[in-house]
């Protein structure tokens, strides 16, 4: 069973965002890392890049496939998780702790378009 955390917001494309004040931490879900298999590379934007909800901001490459990353929220990238450069596999160990980008939200109300934990759990049921 994939792990799903309460309190996070989830996108259909299997990214999560964890809101802390005016910032959001964006990463991929535990379900996404399970489906991808061992992650070998994470292509991240640069600090100060703008991201838009629903649009691509990077890519994650695993031994199975390369998948685009879609930002669940809009805003400006204020930090990227540089640890993933040296250790992309950290995402497989704990997808939620190893977020990919930290975004200063331009429109915090956008999270209302995302799923909560219960809705996401339902969406990945087979």
């Amino acid at each position: 069973m994939s792990k799903i955390l309460e309190g996070l917001y989830y996108a259909e494309s299997h990214e999560f965002v964890k809101i802390e004040g005016e910032y959001g931490y964006v990463g991929i879900t535990d379900y996404a890392q399970e489906q991808l298999g061992n992650v070998v590379y994470v292509d991240m934007p640069e600090v100060d890049d703008e991201v838009t909800a629903g649009e691509e901001f990077g890519a994650v490459e695993s031994v199975k496939a390369a998948s685009d990353l879609y930002s669940p929220v809009s805003g400006v990238v204020v930090e990227i998780n540089e640890d993933l450069d040296g250790d992309p596999g950290a995402i497989n160990k704990d997808a939620y702790a190893n977020w990919i980008i930290k975004v200063k939200l331009s429109d915090p109300s956008e999270v209302e378009n995302l799923m909560d934990a219960a809705a996401y759990a339902k969406s990945i049921e087979h």
Partner: protein, 492 residues
């Protein structure tokens, strides 16, 4: 890593003074090299291995035994059309009267080669139902780019500059959006339905006067024929766009139906896939581009033409696209394709698509009780399973593919297309006998049984290959790409 199975480099086999034959007397020993500029003189001795003939023969024979090709066994690698390439095609293309030609020879001295080129253009036009072909592009993706450049040149010639969008289905091969982007066009994705075919309603929403073209593979990536192609062609043409046919899956239709008749305006053919060149090792390829009537003038320079006296000449035209390749493409691949078409002939070429389709459906229906078949319809030349039906033991598509190697079969394409999590894509091609197909089917069933009874054994496969299971993650994050690195790795 086991060096016994990799053997050594030919250089490591050498011993000083060991020779395979005696050289004639060196007539140049007394040659005065003082006139040669310093920068052009060799600083070190040549690195040539000193080996005897038997060592050379054993070295290369053993090395070739570590390879697996369609000449060694069944190779159902979906999406790749790894069909048997008749040996006569290799022989014909190796004739020295063709291999010793120089691309700068005058047209007068290469009439035979130009005739082959000209006739192949005509044959492909007939097979595709189009008006004219250029054979210049070097491979499939190069053909896509050339085809899109032709489409852009057509719109521009009409002063229609706002057509910058290329519609690509979400199930398309990755080269389609890449080619559009390289051509400076924008990619618009159209959704597919549950059966993998294009969602016509979603398509309608994208159709306006910004559409340059739609790129389609038919049958599509799942091996399913786009039944709505007449309607799609009408809709796209009505909005002023063109239809591009990606020839990746042409083998399914070969000799049976023609992209031109379906309404496509521009297409490329992967000669190396569909028309007999051993491929998969990185080349050489050939990606001829064909166009319907009215678009011929945009095909890239140079063109091969025939004058009224029956003489062939090389022509360049100012209204055409510039050259897309050095000279005129990969000639040896064209020779093989021409030989392939002539040896089969019109009466036999028409069986290629139907036999490829029959073989794929035979395997699909024989295995669908034990493997998950997400789209249960009659397929064309290939189809996709979504892993084992019984996934309770945790045996994945990767494990099944690895276990197949133990039984002497090449693995199918896995984890593509991305529409399913456990994609296992099988394309048997037209040449395989029923005995081979039955052998593959029984092994696939056996693996399903093993997965239920002894899953750990399947998960650790392959057990009988020279190299067993490499660590995929380590290979991707810390690749060892040179022999020297491998030696250092072994010492460490």
């Amino acid at each position: 890593m086991n060096r016994t199975f990799y053997g050594n480099l030919i250089f490591e086999l050498g011993k000083e003074g060991r020779v395979g034959y005696s050289l004639p007397k060196n007539e140049f020993a007394g040659y005065d090299i003082n006139g040669i500029p310093e920068g052009l003189k060799r600083g070190n001795d040549m690195m040539l291995p000193e080996v005897d003939e038997l060592s050379v023969v054993r070295h290369y024979t053993n090395m070739s035994n570590n390879n697996f090709g369609v000449d060694t066994g069944f190779y159902p690698l979906g999406s790749c059309t790894m069909k048997y390439n008749p040996k006569i095609d290799e022989e014909i293309s190796s004739l020295t009267s063709f291999t010793s030609l120089h691309p700068l020879q005058s047209a007068d001295t290469v009439q035979g080669a130009l005739e082959v080129y000209y006739n192949l253009q005509k044959s492909l036009s007939e097979i595709a139902g189009l008006s004219e072909f250029t054979l210049n592009p070097f491979a499939g993706a190069h053909g896509e780019l050339t085809g899109l450049m032709v489409i852009r040149a057509y719109h521009n010639s009409r002063g229609d500059y706002k057509r910058v969008n290329v519609i690509v289905p979400d199930s398309a091969h990755g080269t389609n959006p890449a080619s559009a982007a390289v051509c400076g066009l924008k990619v618009v994705q159209v959704k597919s339905l549950a059966d993998g075919t294009i969602d016509v309603e979603d398509l309608k929403a994208h159709l306006d006067d910004t559409v340059a073209a739609i790129m389609m593979t038919n049958p599509n990536t799942l091996g399913i024929f786009e039944r709505n192609i007449p309607e799609i062609a009408r809709l796209v043409h009505d909005c002023g766009g063109l239809l591009y046919y990606d020839g990746a899956n042409l083998n399914a239709l070969l000799g049976k139906c023609r992209p031109g008749d379906m309404g496509f305006d521009v297409m490329h053919i992967n000669l190396h896939k569909t028309f007999s060149t051993p491929h998969g090792g990185g080349g050489p390829g050939s990606g001829p581009v064909g166009v319907r009537e009215g678009l011929e003038q945009f095909l890239p320079n140079p063109h091969i033409k025939k004058d009224s006296a029956g003489k062939f000449y090389i022509d360049s035209d100012e209204s055409a696209l510039g050259a897309v390749s050095a000279f005129m493409g990969n000639f040896s691949v064209m020779m093989k394709a021409y030989s392939y078409i002539l040896t089969l002939g019109k009466e036999n070429l028409k069986y290629v698509g139907p036999f490829a389709t029959l073989n794929a459906n035979y395997i699909k229906d024989s295995l669908k009780d034990v493997y998950e078949l997400p789209i249960d319809v009659v397929c064309k030349h290939e189809f996709v399973f979504d892993g084992l039906k019984d996934k309770s033991k945790g045996v994945t598509t990767m494990n099944v593919a690895k276990r197949l190697l133990d039984y002497g079969f090449h693995a199918p394409t896995i984890y593509f297309p991305l529409l399913f999590h456990e994609s296992l894509m099988i394309e048997p091609c037209e040449n395989e006998s029923k005995s081979t197909l039955d052998g593959f089917i029984s092994v696939m069933k056996k693996i399903a049984q093993e997965a239920a009874e002894d899953p750990e054994m399947v998960k650790a496969a392959p057990h009988n290959t020279p190299v067993c299971r490499p660590d995929d993650t380590l290979a991707a994050t810390h690749p060892i790409v040179t022999y020297r690195e491998m030696l250092n790795d072994n010492d460490a």
